[in-house]
């Protein structure tokens, strides 16, 4: 085993031009707007916060039941409930501004125009470090086809978003595709500054007694440790395909889980479902990650990005 080192390893990374004091972020929709975790996590300690998805207008979300537990994971169909970008800016952002941490705003819409609208609204707003664009939404104007599962639609959407803001744009890819690298390249060609993956896998569970789906929405997004192997694989494929920095996520619970993503090619990682199980998960991952580096005698996390040796 390599010699341990005493000195604190350097965990800071730069992602899409955003300086992060460490690579541990919060996955969108699993950490609210930060305030919910005030009792557990000092946000100053995190590399950054990716907030719950924000849309141009408020969205009430889906009827319950919205969640269901699955083996080592969970299904959710929240329906992107959120108070809308204006309430976000006026009531949620001020709290986040108080902390010395990067704030990435996850944005979405149900048409290209809605995406552009929310992005323009956030442009130049102080306290916003960058945008994470959730492209796993149906385009209601194009028969509900999901932007993130059609390369052309994804490219057009991301190009429009890119033009609409000066902020760093990170494309959050959907894993429900045949070839993730097509979408990674589309995001690069659209001028995006980084990638975020993976979003949830489309899943379904059925209550065998009343013979109905467990979720009122029928299908939902699968997250948690169960999907980690798929997520690591896609991050690895995307990292080989494009040189954009990547935020890796999907089932991260420990520092070693995070390190898997970094070795696969992620510059930063996001902790999602684990926050529900353990509200201190982000900090635990961070401590754990630092311990791993010390144990391995690694002085700078950067030196590990994409360093998995294949074959």
């Amino acid at each position: 085993m390599p010699a341990k080192i005493k000195t604190k390893p350097n965990l800071s990374v730069t992602l899409a031009g955003i300086k992060l004091k460490n690579p541990v972020l919060t996955a969108s929709g699993t950490f609210g707007y930060g305030e919910e975790f005030a009792d557990f996590v000092d946000l100053n300690k995190l590399g950054g916060v990716i907030v719950k998805g924000v849309s141009l207008k408020p969205i009430a979300g889906n009827p319950p039941p919205r969640i269901w537990e699955t083996p080592s994971g969970m299904l959710n169909a929240i329906g992107l409930e959120n108070p809308g970008v204006d309430v976000f800016i006026n009531e949620k952002l001020p709290y986040l501004r108080r902390f010395d941490t990067a704030v990435l705003v996850n944005v979405f819409g149900y048409s290209l125009e809605e995406y552009v609208g929310v992005v323009e609204r956030l442009d130049g707003v102080s306290g916003v470090s960058g945008l994470e664009v959730n492209i796993s939404c149906p385009n209601v104007k194009a028969g509900g086809i999901v932007f993130g599962t059609n390369v052309k639609a994804a490219f057009e959407l991301l190009s429009a978003v890119r033009k609409a803001t000066k902020l760093p744009v990170i494309a959050k890819l959907s894993p429900n595709v045949t070839d993730i690298t097509e979408f990674a390249r589309a995001a690069r060609d659209a001028g995006c500054d980084g990638l975020s993956l993976i979003n949830t896998l489309l899943g379904m569970a059925i209550d065998v007694r009343c013979r109905r789906p467990r979720l009122a929405n029928c299908t939902g997004g699968l997250s948690g440790p169960a999907i980690r192997p798929v997520a690591v694989r896609m991050v690895w494929q995307a990292a080989k395909a494009v040189s954009l920095p990547i935020i890796g996520m999907g089932g991260i619970v420990t520092g070693e889980d995070a390190l898997e993503f970094i070795l696969a090619g992620a510059t930063a990682v996001a902790v999602g479902t684990a926050n529900f199980v353990n509200p201190r998960a982000t900090l635990d991952v961070l401590d754990d990650l630092e311990r791993c580096l010390r144990e391995q005698g690694v002085g700078d996390l950067q030196s590990l990005i994409g360093k998995v040796s294949v074959g």
Binding site: G32, P65, I67, D207, V253
Partner: protein, 278 residues
Amino acid sequence: MTKLHKALILSHKPAGRGYYRLVLKAPEAAVAAVPGQFVMLRVTENRDPLLARPFGISSIIARKSIELFYRVAGRGTALLTRMKAGHALSLLGPLGKGFLLPVKDVTPVLIAGGSGFPPLHFFAMRAGDRAHFFVGARDKECLPPTRVLTSLKANTAKVHIATEDGSMGRQGMSTDALKAFLAKEERKDRLVIYACGPHAMLAAVSRIAAEHSITCYVSTEERMACGLGACMGCSVPMKAGGYKRACKEGPVFDARDIAWGETVMVNVRNSEFKVRSE
């Protein structure tokens, strides 16, 4: 104020009628807790079952530990029964908004169904002296454990028991008993109803309360992932439109604010999958 605790199991035994009584040492939580609040318990440190389970607080013992009563409803609670005294569980809480306790000269009317008695028992311990406690079940064996009924009798003005088969107390539903009680009661303006139990019962109680224009608070049971207001998974439809989070704005709501119709399906599910997993 931290809410995450490693809580030592002080006592964990079957309490009768299919319930287990679990006493956890968690001084900070014990001091902070108010009736109607709940805790989230992790039943394993592994990845499956993944999520913590919500349980209402039944009472606080010696200002340092929390008493829970639970029934095996599926994988998580089945696993929980195996945890022995001396073992420590990760406990999150107290969570949610509790009941606001009645002001002087109000007569609290508490009504519990299914496994909904724990928060109301806690209520009775804190403000039960003038309270009337209604509890009902299909039959005797589905009522709360004897030790709970005994404690309720000691801590309230009167316990009204109803069973559908008449095997204990008056025959019929607890809501019938409630109706009969309200019929005889003159000073309805002094009553406030507090209910906890299956959705169908809560809906019925809130109708009755409305008929007599009595203020009524209900404690709802929704699936929860985080218990902290972050996952948006526990939403309850509101009459005013939109949803509120059972774990944050609830679990206690003013019965008038809830859009009862729309959640019936939820309840079917819940009860169904409780049946299933038994």
